[in-house]
Symmetry: C2
Subunit: 267 residues, 2 copies
DNA sequence: AATTGTTTCAAACGTTTGTTGTAATTTTTG
DNA sequence: CAAAAATTACAACAAACGTTTGAAACAATT
């Protein structure tokens, strides 16, 4: 099933002459769809939103979605890229800053992690006027198994994710590859789950009779980054591989460490 | 709006005389539905599975689902509880063991965390014969926003989650409530994301030219638990609240300087 | 003013969905 | 073995679904 673009192609702003202006200056139609999609995706899940519900909520005609996009999947992709591009740009800038300044190892790692997770975590979805519903949507998509969603995720995160991982790897020479990537996996989970903002932790806190306010993230991101930094800098648990070795824990061919370099080598 | 049980009620095995035996000894019908549901939910997501797809896959009649359950939501609930009950029982037993044995703080915390996360993480969904598809399903549900799913999650995790949080809290007197629960939130994220088994981390490793095998979890759980334990035992980042205080960090003044801690310094 | 290209609208198409009623079948009970 | 209960099979329904079409409404250019 190769993706058919059908007539959505012509709205793909490929070589369009000029953008579509509106009569008044109040409602641009195409973005009305994306705004409604963002709200509905977060509320009902990507698969839980039908085109009819979407057009009803965004107050556009049923055919408009097919005209401007071409299908539900394209709506998702457009919405995702609309947010992920500036988000990743901010990540890059923050990572650049980390390259500039010098500090002790812990602070460096913490700042590095903070640079990566802050853009997505800055505005919690549970705030009173939900500032970034997209963060929650992203968290849902991050565990979605369907290939179309995975492709969207991959395309949005491969580049920035690799750069971040490389920079972080340089600060973790005490870890074998296997353990480093497991810890990186933990970092991803922490970030996405925090974005998801499910309220589970808050529920647990309530059951324990403790008040726990998650709505103000400004300083809390530092706490999370600190937690993760301590985890990364902790001594290796895995003792079956020498710290400098690149092989995984399973016994095997790697009789001698092939590279003692602290950071990951390119292919 | 109120959940209607309709005729599914009579199959609710409330005070059933005896289970329904089958002619031969090969296929029990009711479980065939649950088995297929498990496979399909994981593959297409909960919302992505229609009754007709479910009945087609499980090779039962279309009406059978309504007869034995009463709707899709009840299928999900039945499937969830079928797995979560023995899983949580194992968690309880492992936590009991932690109460018995004595060790240094780090080892205690790591064992505690390991006891909580191991049951769900033991069998990765990406193994060759997928041992526990349920783990992946659980991860998807953990970020699902719909109220019906949240109710299922809450009911399955409130009790064990509270017990675990209490036990872990006792080992973290150096943390204020606010910071403790943030770190607990990180733990949840790590657990669920690892369960989700999205392959993202593996993808990043590939892009960096490193082989990363996630399929053998037997020892790797200890690595994850070690990571998390180090995070929990790390000194508090938030210095605006005294370690023993229960107030959250909201108080405005930072006059005393949040940089007092030796390793944690603000930007 | 006429023309052109883009956007919006209303209506309809054919499918698929969840659900239900009823008959056929099997299993258990008396 | 017959009656009763439980389960399965089949057909049908209204509602909702994605998609398509053609005409009307619009902005800008000629």
């Amino acid at each position: 099933m190769p993706e058919t673009m059908k007539r959505g192609e012509k709205a793909g702003n490929s070589a369009g002459k000029k953008a579509a202006p509106r009569k008044g200056d109040i409602p641009p139609t195409k973005e009305r769809i994306l705004d409604a999609a963002e709200r509905l995706f977060v509320r009902y899940g990507y698969k839980g939103v039908s085109m009819r519900l979407l057009t009803r909520e965004s107050k556009v005609n049923l055919g408009a979605v097919h005209y401007h996009f071409g299908g539900m999947e394209s709506v998702l992709r457009a919405l995702f890229e609309k947010h992920i591009v500036p988000l990743n740009q901010e990540r890059h800038e923050l990572l650049d800053k980390c390259l500039a300044e010098e500090a002790d190892t812990y602070t460096s790692v913490r700042n590095l992690i903070e640079a990566y997770i802050r853009p997505s975590l800055r505005y919690p979805a549970s705030s009173k006027p939900p500032k970034s519903l997209f963060a929650r949507l992203q968290a849902q998509l991050s565990v979605d198994p369907s290939p179309e969603v995975r492709r969207v995720i991959d395309r949005g995160y491969d580049e920035i994710g690799t750069r971040f991982a490389r920079m972080l790897r340089a600060h973790c020479p005490h870890l074998a590859d296997h353990e480093f990537f497991w810890r990186l996996n933990c970092l991803y989970g922490t970030m996405f789950y925090t974005q998801a903002d499910t309220g589970r932790t808050q529920k647990i806190a309530e059951l324990m009779g403790v008040e726990f306010d998650q709505t103000d993230r400004a300083d809390d991101i530092t706490l999370i980054a600190g937690f993760l930094a301590s985890g990364f800098l902790a001594p290796a648990v895995d003792t079956s591989t020498s710290p400098a070795a690149t092989a995984k824990s399973q016994s095997g061919k790697s009789s001698s460490g092939k590279s003692s370099s602290g950071n990951a080598k390119g292919k």
